[in-house]
Amino acid sequence: MKQLLILGAGTAGTMSANRLSRMLDLDQWKITLVDQNPIHYYQPGFLFIPFGVYGRKDVVKPKHDFVPRGVELIMATIAGIDGDSNTVTLGDGRKLRYDFLIIATGADIHPEQTPGLKEDAWGKSIHTFYSLDGALTLFDALRDWDGGRLVLNVVENPIKCPVAPLEFLMLADWYFHERGIRDRVELIYATPLPGAFTKPKASQMLAGLLESKNIKVEPEFMIERADPDAKKIVSYDEREIPYDLLVSVPLNTGAPVIGASGLGDELNFIPVNKHTFLSNKYANVFALGDGAAVPTSKAGSVAHYAVEGFCPNFVRYTKGRELLPVFDGHANCFIESGFGKGLLIDFNYDTEPLPGRYPLPGIGPFTLLEESEANRWGKLIFRWMYWNILLKGEELPLPFRMSLAGKWQN
């Protein structure tokens, strides 16, 4: 039997296991999935929790529900990956040998890496919505808050879902409006980026949107430390921003075991070919999802498009044929903009987000780079699609490669 080992049963790992269990001959292949946590989190839902739109039950399900028949799920931590001997060592000492390895161990937050963040004020005046517990604590904090300066700070890029900080602020604008205290709340976005977003057209559009909602952007702010006693954050170039409530998007890194196994870059993300996901180091190791060092968004939609292109390519590769450069960096993000509206952006490695209609050219129903109510429904319906279609590796009637049809280039 050939052994396919998948590390991580998050979005990318689970989708790959589902698809490959149907595409590979299970009389010849043994597929094993390893994860340390029995719960699958719908991470896009964390954004809505602080505002009471979703609660815990909306964003958690047992991982077992999504593991297909014929795939073994092992609950264990990973102690080491040895690419030279094709072996993964688990936390309990077990060794798993593989013929092919897919690493999908994701990215996680590290607030302890920024002085002052995860100390006494953590969960009191300093919060995050990048974890379920953090989002639930922030829900309580916002409910009891009677106004002041809310500063959202992104510590360093890349982060999971780079539009989430903007969405948080736009939802906050709506939330405080509904509570009748918007005039007593200042909303500030302190980002290391030179503007609201990196891609020029989207950045311009989003900057206008933030301005119209009276959300102030403090660009090129690289935080050095938080000072919870003085309630301010300080940048490396010694700018200071005072806050009453700090919402932090802490440093995101890949799994520490990646670095310890010599497979990672300076942030423990795994360098791979950006079109095939093959490791730069080993010809039988791939990395998919947020843990891969590829220049596109760390997001579920990217994982979905990536896995869809990857799986048939992988099957071909196991039969001795070369990998095709199939993945184009396609990302597709619904951006919640508050007051029942949303935006949609669709882009890839080469094409920045453009205005237009999606997925049907000229028709939509979704509008690209423009607020609409349909977009917001798309985002909410997406949660159902995620649990019921995407994770199980079922098909969506949309192409995984980006299309320029329906986009206006100038």
């Binding site: 890029n157 780079p162 990196t198 090129e220 490396y236 870059d265 300076e266 882009f347």
Partner: protein
């Protein structure tokens, strides 16, 4: 693509003024761009960072991020901001004749 004259050479630049052909770069050009960026003098530590960035970009095919410079050239972020004030990654890339560091999408 536009070109410009600098330190006696004609080099290709993009619309943001970043050189687009790393091979056209010389140390004299670096000194001139550094002056434009408000750095009248490049110390050995500046050069260590510039050289690391050029080597790294040569291998990786893209300009190093701020964190990659601090890890690779063994310099603290605080020092990097002191050496190349206001946006060190961008400033280093410009002086080292490399493309603008990729933002995060």
């Amino acid at each position: 693509m536009a070109t410009r004259q600098i330190a006696g050479k004609t080099v290709t630049v993009n619309d943001e003024g970043f050189m687009t052909i790393p091979a056209e770069w010389t140390k004299e050009i670096a000194v001139e761009i550094a002056k434009e960026e408000g750095l009248p003098e490049l110390t050995p530590t500046h050069w260590k960072i510039i050289e690391f960035s050029r080597q790294d970009a040569g291998a990786a095919g893209k300009s190093p991020t701020l964190r990659r410079i601090t890890v690779g050239a063994n310099v603290t972020t605080k020092d990097l901001f002191a050496l190349f004030p206001k946006g060190p990654a961008k400033k280093v890339a410009r002086i080292a004749g490399l493309g603008k560091p990729e933002g995060c999408v």
